[in-house]
């Protein structure tokens, strides 16, 4: 279609509104108006982000990559209940539970998540898993850089999802904080690890 030809309307209603000016004083004004927009933009605040050199923070409740949280002494909060997997509308979560023992304790109580996988090729970041989690073990971070060069790498394992050990935390498995039980953990009465919890 030539630029000089009036564009043929696809339907009748739009026919009269399409009109391409050819020349004249009116068109000059219109062109100046256009240049003005460009010109004025030079003095406006720049909104373009120089990603990936510059990384802007997201909104605080942005749904990003998941994280499996820990109790303050390092024990995992996940109990392997699979409620997240049940809630997931995209079938992106796979969990296998297992039995804690006094010798091999990963979380307070009887049960812990032995296998925990989230498939980020499937995840739609809806956050229903977060709502389902009964222990606040699963939350979402603001991390959004989830691209990779193979499908396999986008299935995150438990090690990839677990929150890092902060100071005062010990790597599970390790026993309870001395003199406490699972109830103390759930009520927030354990605030840090004790040296005696170090796994021998």
């Amino acid at each position: 279609m030539s630029e000089l030809e009036p564009k043929r309307a696809i339907d009748g209603a739009a026919e009269e509104s399409i009109h391409i000016p050819i020349a004249g004083p009116a068109s000059l004004f219109t062109q100046l108006k256009g240049f003005w927009v460009t010109f004025a933009a030079q003095f406006k605040k720049v909104t373009t982000v120089q990603y990936p050199e510059v990384k802007e923070p997201t909104a605080p409740r942005f749904h990003g990559r998941h994280q499996l949280n820990r109790h303050p002494d390092g024990l995992e909060k996940c109990i392997g209940c699979e409620l997240c997997a049940w809630a997931c509308p995209a079938d992106a979560i796979y969990v296998e539970g297992a039995d804690n023992s006094d010798e091999q304790r990963y979380s307070p109580g009887e049960r812990y998540g032995k296998v925990y996988q989230i498939n980020y090729l499937r995840c739609i970041f809806c956050g229903l898993c977060i709502e389902a989690c009964p222990t606040r073990a699963l939350t979402m971070t603001n991390e959004y850089e989830l691209a990779d060069d193979s499908r396999k790498k986008l299935i995150f394992e438990k090690e990839d999802l677990l929150a890092p050990l902060r100071s005062g935390m010990l790597q599970p498995p390790h026993p309870y904080y001395p003199g406490t039980d699972d109830q103390d953990y759930y009520h927030g009465r354990v605030t840090e690890a004790h040296p005696s919890q170090e796994q021998k």
């Binding site: 109990i79 209940c81 409620l83 049940w86 539970g97 039995d99 009887e110 009964p134």
Partner: protein
């Protein structure tokens, strides 16, 4: 069914405005089910006697205009004419009563659904949603207990979750006859308890886990393994014995995670035994044979399927061969072996009996068992059940449960002919006739029965010469029915499929020319290509191989140590093709080893001891393994004599056309009862839980197995100078084994040993059968 249904009185009542007519004696809760009205319940179970403990099923009842002053438990009240029942759907009182009871139940129930194995398939969860209040008003303290305690190695009890419906204790007392659990303490502290010195070592304990309406009883093996929505369930059939239980196999990502008893009122009702429930790891063990193996320079190496098939075909080509099927093949696989032997290898030297056997037995099976249709329902209507060569609780637990049910219900009289009065016989209140092993035939001759009686014969009666002849004679005299109960699931099917030297498929006698013509026509082969004389049995096949008369052996799933002192020389000299799941004594010596599919990995059918066909579908969706019959079809193809089918469906269809034979059955000639051996004789049979190859990798299950002990009576103990717990050594020319003594109710001068316990493999270690003379001495 064309049989006339027995006349029963019918009762008509009204439930929620709908009229329903049900047989007299029906409980209100089940009459409501007929209308599709579900009254919530916990303690009620259709196969247990009513108890009325949980009070969840309260409804308003009125009889002929007179209303009960308070709501009644519908699980305890039988229907009556003119009864008007209002359930929670139409009665505000019933609705509130049910809500109230549900709230009470949740008062002391912990909120640990997320870690509970029952979560997602929990009647309490479900009914709390349908019949409970949205929120609890309970703000107090719940009672707490120590979290799960092992009441046996395979059952865990979480007392906090228990709602005290007493289903488990009633099951154990009423159905299994093992009252090892009962209620202890009282009030809210009431709890299921075991006697501290006596764990819950019942063979049927798994059923309590299945009927528990909450997560109070859970199985150790399934603990935290999965959620119901992860599982793909397939109706299955148990491969562990000939009872023919219907099962449900639950698979998650190609891994079998659990098996549950299926509901089949004609066979296992809703029960199964712990072996059927908890022995399935054998399909997932690390040493499963994954690829074909061929022997090169004396060592097995991995090979491709085409190469292995070619080597196998080459090894069999033109050689006189024998075929050993093993007792665990499906009907279709057995049929494939039977046809492979006749049509491809041209031999009758085939036998499914990879266990002690006799010629008398083979004749007996051909004349009295093949084609017979004795059913579980014959036990239900029997006037007398005789058990001979058979300990039902150990050797076919569902037969045991069925007999026990009739003993409880109508005092069915049971007679047990055995050298040892076992606990199982006592639970059946059986009249015990103690006989030395080998003398069963004499005791049978003394009995008088009617045509309503059932003689239940165990496979090991063949070890007593003349025993099966006595059974046949007793049945002929009295018209009593013969129920032959083999131990393995595949034996009855293999018999019907003709995987035995004297029979063609459908029980056609090999000696019958018409039968041979019949089969040859169906197989489209020359009728004279089927040999006319009966083939050798398992033991004779091994012996012939050792002598060099048989030069090739096709062996499917046979453990030679299950047989009476097998001769391995045959395995060394002949070409051996082994179809196996896992390395065994056969694969160690085989020239070609082909991996086969386990039961969960294929479809097919078993025949229960009744001769009832029990079909099942493939439970594990993705498997690299193929069924025996497919592999045989490849070899047959390579040998140029194809089987004509390569699928389970194809084999089943072809066998279907041959399954019934209306010609004459084989005749049976009586064998005399042998003279008793002198001195101390051996009695021995397998127990339900032992060292069986399908029970590997099941530590929890093995924890409830009976302890291996040598059993003798006080008379023999006094003679030997031993007391309970002392060590004795039993020896023969073949070998010796030592066990601790437990004084038991045995006949004089008999020692009983478990046949396949880890410490007591009597066939392998002593090399003798029931009734053989053994030496016994105190100490090592």
């Amino acid at each position: 069914m064309t049989a006339v249904q027995p006349q029963t009185d019918l009762i008509t009542l009204t439930i929620d405005g709908f009229e329903v007519t049900v047989p007299k004696g029906t409980l209100v809760i089940r009459a409501a089910e007929q209308l599709g009205i579900q009254i919530p319940r916990f303690c009620d179970h259709p196969l247990l006697s009513p108890v009325g403990a949980c009070r969840q099923c309260l409804v308003d009842i009125e009889i002929n205009g007179r209303a009960f002053p308070k709501p009644q438990a519908s699980c305890t009240i039988p229907v009556e004419n003119g009864m008007v029942v209002k359930t929670q759907l139409t009665s505000e009182v019933a609705h509130k009563a049910q809500e109230g009871v549900m709230e009470f139940l949740l008062v002391n129930h912990p909120l640990d659904c997320p870690v509970c194995d029952k979560g997602g398939e929990c009647p309490l969860q479900n009914q709390a949603m349908t019949s409970g209040r949205g929120e609890s008003r309970f703000e107090g303290k719940k009672r707490t207990f120590e979290k799960p305690i092992n009441i046996s190695s395979q059952v865990l009890l979480d007392r906090e979750r228990c709602i005290l419906c007493a289903r488990c204790t009633r099951f154990s007392k009423e159905i299994a006859g093992d009252p090892f659990i009962d209620m202890g303490e009282r009030g809210a502290l009431q709890q299921v308890a075991i006697y501290e010195k006596d764990p819950f070592d019942s063979y049927f304990s798994g059923n309590t886990v299945q009927i528990c309406p909450v997560g109070a009883l859970t199985g150790s093996a399934y603990r935290f393994r999965s959620r119901p929505f992860d599982l793909v369930s397939t109706p299955s059939v148990c491969e562990h014995c000939a009872s023919g239980c219907s099962l449900r196999t639950d698979v998650r990502r190609n891994k079998t995670l659990r098996r549950l008893a299926g509901n089949d009122p004609e066979v296992n009702e809703e029960w199964n035994c712990d072996k059927g429930r908890w022995a399935f790891q054998y399909t997932m063990v690390k040493d499963r044979i994954a690829t074909p193996l061929i022997r090169e320079n004396g060592v097995l190496r991995e090979a491709s399927w085409p190469e292995a098939i070619a080597v196998a075909a080459n090894g069999l080509q033109g050689k006189k061969a024998g075929v050993l099927v093993g007792g665990r093949a499906t009907v279709e696989d057995s049929y494939a072996y039977a046809k492979f032997a006749r049509a491809t290898l041209g031999t009758n030297d085939i036998d499914f009996r990879s266990r002690p056997h006799s010629d008398e037995e083979r004749d007996f099976l051909a004349a009295h068992v093949v084609g017979s249709k004795v059913r579980y329902s014959d036990i239900d209507t029997a006037d007398h059940v005789v058990l001979v060569g058979f300990e039902p609780e150990e050797e076919s637990p569902i037969v045991f449960l069925r007999i026990r049910k009739q003993v409880r219900k109508r005092a069915l009289s049971v007679t047990a002919i055995s050298p040892w009065q076992t606990r199982g016989f006592k639970k059946l209140q059986a009249k015990y006739i103690g006989v030395a092993p080998g003398a069963e035939g004499n005791a049978l001759a003394q009995l008088s029965l009617t045509n309503q009686s059932v003689i239940v014969v165990g496979e090991r009666l063949c070890e007593s010469a003349g025993g099966l002849s006595a059974v046949a004679e007793l049945a002929r005299k009295s018209g009593a029915k013969i129920a032959w109960v083999p131990r393995r699931a595949g034996e009855r099917g293999a018999l019907e499929a003709g995987a035995i030297g004297n029979l063609l498929p459908g029980g056609r006698p090999i000696s019958d020319a018409a039968a041979r013509v019949d089969v040859a026509a169906a197989w489209s082969i020359e009728s004279d290509s089927i040999p006319t004389s009966a083939g050798s049995d398992s033991k004779a096949i091994f012996a012939a191989a050792a002598r060099g008369e048989i030069k090739a052996l096709v062996i499917g799933g046979v453990d030679p140590f299950d047989m009476h002192a097998p001769d391995f020389a045959g395995l060394e000299s002949a070409f051996v093709l082994s179809l196996e799941l896992r390395p065994s004594a056969i694969t160690e010596r085989a020239d070609v080893v082909l991996p086969v599919a386990a039961v969960t990995e294929k479809s097919g059918s078993f025949m229960s001891w009744e001769g009832r066909t029990r079909s099942f579908e493939q439970a594990v969706p993705e498997t690299p393994h193929q069924s025996d019959l497919y592999i045989l079809s490849l070899i047959a193809e390579a040998l140029g004599k194809p089987l004509g089918f390569s699928t389970v469906r194809g084999a089943a269809k072809e066998f279907g056309t041959l399954a019934n034979w209306d010609g004459a059955r084989a005749s049976f000639t009586s064998h005399p009862v042998a003279n008793a051996a002198q001195g101390v004789t051996l009695a021995s049979w397998r127990q339900l839980l032992d060292n069986g190859s399908l029970q590997v990798n099941e530590p929890n299950l093995a924890g409830t197995a009976r302890k291996a002990v040598a059993r003798i009576n006080a008379q023999l103990a006094a003679k030997l100078g031993v007391a309970n717990g002392d060590l004795v050594t039993i020896s023969t020319d073949h070998g010796a084994l030592s066990l601790n003594v437990e004084l038991s109710d045995l006949v004089d001068d008999v020692v009983w040993l478990p046949r396949n316990a880890v410490a007591s493999q009597s066939l392998r270690m002593l090399g003798v059968l029931n009734g053989a003379q053994v030496n016994i001495r105190k100490g090592l």
